[in-house]
Symmetry: C2
Subunit: 188 residues, 2 copies
């Protein structure tokens, strides 16, 4: 972990707070020598403690193959800075060539799972699949337990997002290369 | 439907675009004479066509009881204008008294399901539960097919969001009464 990002551990019962506002995610995976990364908007928290998540992973993807082989993945929460990599990772298939090399996607090692942590992200959830074959086969739906969670301390700490500038903000995918940035915070 | 909102039908294969950016939702439900509304951040698209959704509904809630009795619900996508109602609906239990009356939450009739459409929202998805007892019992996870979808034409049409002012924007829930507004759009 030589990145300038100051990565801090997020207590597991607070891990859902990284996802609660519905940002787009990058799903990274690895099995043996192979690894991949894809974009996913269809992911959400499923439980608080132990934290669980649900994510849709299409049967046609290399990611699906690697997750089924390893039982592991990482949900990475990208910032606006790497929106171009999110779009590229979401548009290309890992079967066409290594996306990390093609799109200049940098990584660090995770702590528990083999899948990498994607650089330029604001949060990371290391996940282990909870095998539910019917969901996986019928709905492409994977449930997983979050076994480690990390955040970039410059934007998330003590269970709170605190974006200082626009480039650091998380993003939300619409369609066709169009995103929304996470906007201003407000309270009621 | 006497509201000033110009509600237009969203073609079902485009219904997921109402949810894709991860806004907080209101889940409305009805069974017999009883009805309720709760807030949910843990909901996501599950498929394009026919459109399906996944949503977490805790066992303790009145909403759970009404959805299990009726097999139906509506996912309503609120705007910033009614953020106070979203927080109130998410903080109180329907067992303590009718939330619609207590919090001044206005409704219109849906077209296919008995659950109401919540006024002041930007989009509405009428849903029928796909019975998956194991998911419901083990994970509080409900899968459903979207059988009708609607949008406020002033903010969503032709499969695109086009927010004109801040009050009309959709919102994303953090925790503790704190939200993010859906921010500026950008393309890469």
């Amino acid at each position: 972990m030589n990145s300038p990002t100051r990565r801090i551990a997020v207590p597991l019962p607070k891990a859902y707070l990284l996802l609660n506002h519905g940002p787009v995610m990058l799903v990274s995976s690895a099995s043996g020598e192979r690894r991949n990364v894809m974009a996913a908007s269809w992911a959400m928290p499923l439980d608080f403690d132990p934290p669980k998540v649900a994510v849709v992973i299409d049967k046609s993807t290399l990611t699906r193959e690697l997750i089924e082989a390893s039982g592991e993945f990482v949900l990475n929460i990208p910032t606006r800075t790497i929106a171009d990599q999110v779009l590229a990772a979401g548009s290309a298939s890992g079967r066409e060539g290594d996306k990390f090399a093609r799109f200049g996607i940098a990584t660090d090692k995770a702590t528990i799972v083999a899948a990498p942590l994607i650089a330029g992200c604001a949060g990371w959830l290391e996940c282990k699949v909870i095998p539910e074959p019917r969901n996986q086969q019928t709905y492409d739906l994977f449930l997983a337990e979050v076994v480690a969670a990390w955040a970039d301390a410059s934007v998330f700490s003590d269970g709170r997002w605190h974006f200082a500038d626009d480039a650091q903000r998380t993003i939300h995918y619409r369609a066709g290369g169009h995103f929304f940035v996470t906007g201003e915070g407000f309270s009621v």
